[in-house]
């Protein structure tokens, strides 16, 4: 049964922009949102390209019998994880050695960084809007993210 024209009750009571933000605030928010949107898009595209390049080379090297990886390594716990780049130095060494798995990991790291960048850019955006409450909120979230990385690498 289609309910069709259900409309929120609030529409009648509000004379102008409902969201309690002035027009110039709305414009700044839109600007900020577009910046965030673009940052994400570039990050995602870059990640995709890097991962794709690494994946193609990895598949080629697997077929040529030249890679230490195989699907079988990851079907039982324990044997596989030592083959996986696990720290930034691993990735760096791998890149210098021309290891495709390091290229893939680099691309994945770019991807994994995109939410963090998004939060960081939001701090700036709220700052530009002089929205100190949300600057504080966003810095809190960013701090928790940083804490989680420290907890992660220690644990």
């Amino acid at each position: 049964m289609d309910m069709g024209k259900e409309v929120p009750v609030t529409i009648d009571n509000i004379p102008q922009s409902h969201s309690e933000h002035s027009k110039s605030e709305e414009d700044k928010m839109l600007q900020m949102e577009l910046i965030v949107s673009n940052v994400l898009r570039y990050g995602v595209v870059a990640s995709f390209i890097i991962v794709a390049i690494g994946a193609i080379f990895m598949l080629v090297s697997l077929h040529a019998g030249q890679s230490k990886f195989s699907v079988a390594n990851f079907m039982a716990a324990g044997s596989g994880s030592s083959l996986v780049p696990r720290t930034l130095t691993d990735v760096l060494h791998g890149l210098l050695a021309g290891d495709p798995s390091a290229v893939i990991t680099l691309g994945l790291l770019v991807l994994l960084a995109t939410p963090v960048f998004r939060v960081a850019v939001s701090v700036l955006a709220f700052l530009l809007q002089h929205d100190l409450l949300y600057v504080a909120i966003t810095i809190f979230v960013l701090t928790m993210l940083v804490v989680s990385f420290l907890v992660g690498s220690a644990g």
């Binding site: 529409i11 969201s19 309690e20 991962v51 990886f69 079988a72 716990a77 596989g80 992660g152």
Partner: protein
């Protein structure tokens, strides 16, 4: 198994995962994990690592579209993420203390309850008669979004802010403990407790799950659970699927999205119950 075959299967499955996840505000783990473990025999820890990649890919892949389309409520998302990220860290700390099986059962029950509650709302396109919580006013959470299907700008209020905050803390803790599933708690929390329009809940959840997953990603990466051979096709597929899914979502009716979500919740609930009871997955 031939690596290229493995790669292509995972790639195609991930496209579907990204498409479904981006429409519903989920991370795609519901498809990625069973596909890898049951379908391809991969060990669960690497499947969870791949799921973390899937969540971030869904989030960032779809986010550009949702932000541009002004559906994501960044203030609500950021404010609630205070609770979710705190929860994720709590989850990492208490990791050893709670039996995994008990957690899965509890999670399954909560999801089943959410499915029922959302099912009861299945006819309503938009929320009606919602009063903003006082906190929502101080935090300026209320907003509006353009609904492409209804051809109107929908203005909405925000209720239940303290409850939403509490639920997000729990969602974050669960996510930190299990490595999955925060979207399936976030969307019902926003839909049922905070009474947001369905599309806003989905798009805002889509933003939030990326941040929550990033808080766990460091741990899984350091453990070597993010495997290039597995995570590469997942990342690529989900990114493709999520980009398309985000464009699709704006053209769907809220009722359709909610009904699809109920179905998915039931499936996830069953998956979690099975794990908790020790059936099947391992």
């Amino acid at each position: 198994m031939d690596p290229t075959q493995f790669f292509l299967i995972t790639l195609f499955g991930s496209i579907i995962a990204g498409g479904l996840g981006s429409v519903l505000g989920l991370g795609g783990g519901i498809i990625v994990i069973p596909m890898l473990t049951l379908g391809l025999g991969i060990d669960i820890r690497y499947a969870i690592g791949a799921s973390i990649v899937s969540v971030i890919a869904t989030s960032s892949g779809a986010a550009a579209a949702y932000v541009r389309d002004r559906i994501t409520n960044l203030r609500i998302g950021m404010f609630l993420e205070m609770a979710t990220t705190t929860g994720a860290i709590t989850g990492a700390f208490i990791g050893g203390l709670i039996s995994g099986q008990v957690l899965y059962i509890v999670f399954a029950v909560v999801l089943a309850y959410s499915a029922l509650a959302m099912f009861n709302k299945r006819h309503g396109e938009l929320p009606v008669g919602v009063e903003s919580h006082p906190w929502a006013r101080s935090l300026r959470l209320a907003d509006e979004y353009p609904d492409a299907v209804l051809h109107q700008t929908v203005q909405y209020e925000v209720a239940g802010v303290p409850l939403g905050l509490g639920l997000m803390y729990i969602a974050g803790t669960v996510s930190g403990l299990l490595g999955i599933g925060s979207g399936s708690l976030k969307v019902p929390a926003m839909d049922l407790a905070m009474k947001l329009p369905m599309k806003v809940s989905s798009a805002t959840s889509n933003f939030m799950i990326g941040v929550t997953a990033a808080a766990s990603a460091g741990v899984y990466f350091a453990r070597g659970d993010i495997v290039p051979l597995i995570a590469a096709p997942v990342a690529m597929g989900v990114l493709l699927g999520a980009t398309v899914g985000a464009r699709l979502m704006v053209r769907l009716r809220s009722t359709s999205i909610r009904r699809l979500f109920v179905v998915v919740l039931v499936v996830i609930s069953a998956q979690m119950a099975a794990k908790g009871l020790g059936i099947g997955v391992r």
